[in-house]
Symmetry: C2
Subunit: 327 residues, 2 copies
């Protein structure tokens, strides 16, 4: 059994807890939180919640620590710290800071002789993997990544900070005609506006100026001004009823050419349609936790990403079984 610890218990932590339960070669040993542990109720019976400060006493009781904190402030500190003591997996997703994060985790993991697997999930993660595979196979070509339809937590937060807004949710939606052009091998050059639209569902406070709210949202720099944005005002009840999920998904498409005169076009498309973004991310992380455990057992150490992990390490099957059933 691979002994798993969860560090941080929000949506992602709960997702990891569920995913561990789905994998017969894993067991959840403990959950760690910065809150008062007595206030944190988890789903698993017989598993205790501990304060984050107690984590080092589990040094020999946990094979892989899964970090479920945020990328803005938690993971840049937590992952390098815990990598000094544990095999770790995180879902660090601040793309621009990945090289720096990698270096920090690498230093810690090499000291401890452990594996530090970073930026695991679907983007970064499975989408990155597909960009790598597609570009390696179809050397002459273009990459396209579309996100959605799905809830963007960051954009939903931005809406909720607007004056007069009580609650809100934002969906990122890929533009169908752009997707079709890519799928048909047209290799279009697409602006930000041409790739995605943004759909907002907003609950306004009583007496708030809805026109002003709509204008403020649509003109918000970075978040909305570069997109065609629609703002729909709805009641809190409707928001709760129809928009409480956290669905997401997207598409990674590689369009490339081969042949004597590059006369043949090929399209590789990878897509995800997810009912629950955190639960799917958690499922990817848990599969890669198996890889971290196995790779470390074979003597590998240091920071790794999905690019460094051979697929056999994440599968619950043996290599023989994989060749027989999946190849």
């Amino acid at each position: 059994m691979i002994r798993i610890g969860i560090f941080g218990y929000g949506n992602l932590g709960r997702g990891v807890e569920c995913a561990v339960k789905q994998n017969k070669d894993m067991e959840l040993v403990a959950v760690f939180t910065r809150r008062d542990p007595s206030t944190v109720k988890i789903l698993s019976e017989g598993v205790d919640v501990f304060h984050a400060d107690d984590v080092l006493s589990f040094k020999d009781k946990i094979d892989v620590m899964i970090l479920c904190g945020g990328s803005a402030t938690d993971l840049p500190k937590q992952t390098p710290y815990l990598a000094q003591y544990f095999n770790v997996v995180d879902s660090f997703d601040t793309h621009a800071k990945i090289p720096e994060h990698f270096e920090n985790v690498d230093t810690s993991s090499r000291k401890s002789g452990k594996i530090g697997l970073i930026s695991v999930g679907w983007d970064p993660g499975m989408f990155s993997l597909n960009r790598a595979l597609g570009g390696s196979i179809l050397v002459d070509g273009n990459d396209y990544t579309f996100w959605g339809k799905g809830v963007s937590q960051g954009h939903s937060d931005a809406i909720r900070r607007v004056d007069g807004v009580l609650d809100g949710k934002q969906y990122t939606v890929p533009v169908d005609s752009a997707l079709e052009a890519v799928r048909n091998g047209k290799n279009p050059t697409l602006s930000t506006r041409e790739k995605h639209t943004r759909e907002c569902y907003v609950v306004a406070k009583d007496g708030a100026d809805k026109e002003l709210i709509e204008k403020t949202i649509k003109e918000m720099p970075n978040y909305f001004s570069d997109y065609d944005t629609t703002v729909n005002f709805i009641s809190q009840e409707e928001l709760n009823e129809k928009h409480s999920g956290i669905p997401h998904g997207g598409f990674v498409i590689r369009s490339g050419k081969t042949g004597k005169d590059l006369e043949h076009t090929h399209i590789i498309e990878y897509s995800l349609k997810l009912d629950s973004n955190p639960e799917f991310t958690a499922s990817v992380i848990v599969a890669y936790a198996r890889a971290a455990y196995r790779m470390n057992k074979e003597g590998m150490v240091g920071a790794k990403t999905v690019f460094d992990v051979a697929p056999c390490y994440i599968s619950p099957m043996s290599n023989e079984e994989m060749r027989k059933k999946l190849l």
Copy 2:
């Protein structure tokens, strides 16, 4: 530069030749054929064609030998033989015999201290990889593989063997409604007939009994009797004009559930739309030839499949560049 040899020069060999040219870190050293080399014209200038019997004299001049023979009789002998002397990559695709082929290649490769990478292409190959990834991430779920729309060489050959048939081509076509049901997470149980239809384009000889040809094709066991098959009689000119390409493609879909009570459904879909089946297969093989070279340089030996290859080995980018640009 990675020095490549091509062993066998048909559609796949030509595809490999084109793909090597697209990769700046590779050079084609020689092509080997069992025919009289003087009768084989290749596309590359300055590269010579040699008889297969002369291959061992290239032992120290070629880093990776790419085998482009057939799975029925060529590869079961050629791959284990050449693995005694070279890093090799093949596209062995007789699924049921893969475990045996793997063992044979493994024995040879371990003796020579080389890598023997087998069953590389898209199925087996990229489709296998996606079945492995999907099943590892969504543990509770179902796999679906659909092929097409594309030309099946085996079925086209079967048509051409029918009495009264001059020429013919067969397309395997996935059934749209089945694809949609899978995409919508319905986890249908699908019979052979429900997954694919078969479209035949047939040129009949003058005076041939078309009704009998159609009946013979539709009732042919293994090839057509389990499918809804349509037979279209056309002229040789139309066949040449509209059906001379070798397109193919397909879909690997994983549908799975997560959550406390498995209440959330997720769909992972990988699809290919290929203008040229052999050229795409060749492009995959060439990317994995890079992996064979690099992995052997790091001291790895023995038979491998796509499951054993970390994605970083197939990419022309450095690990740093991959993390920066693709993660």
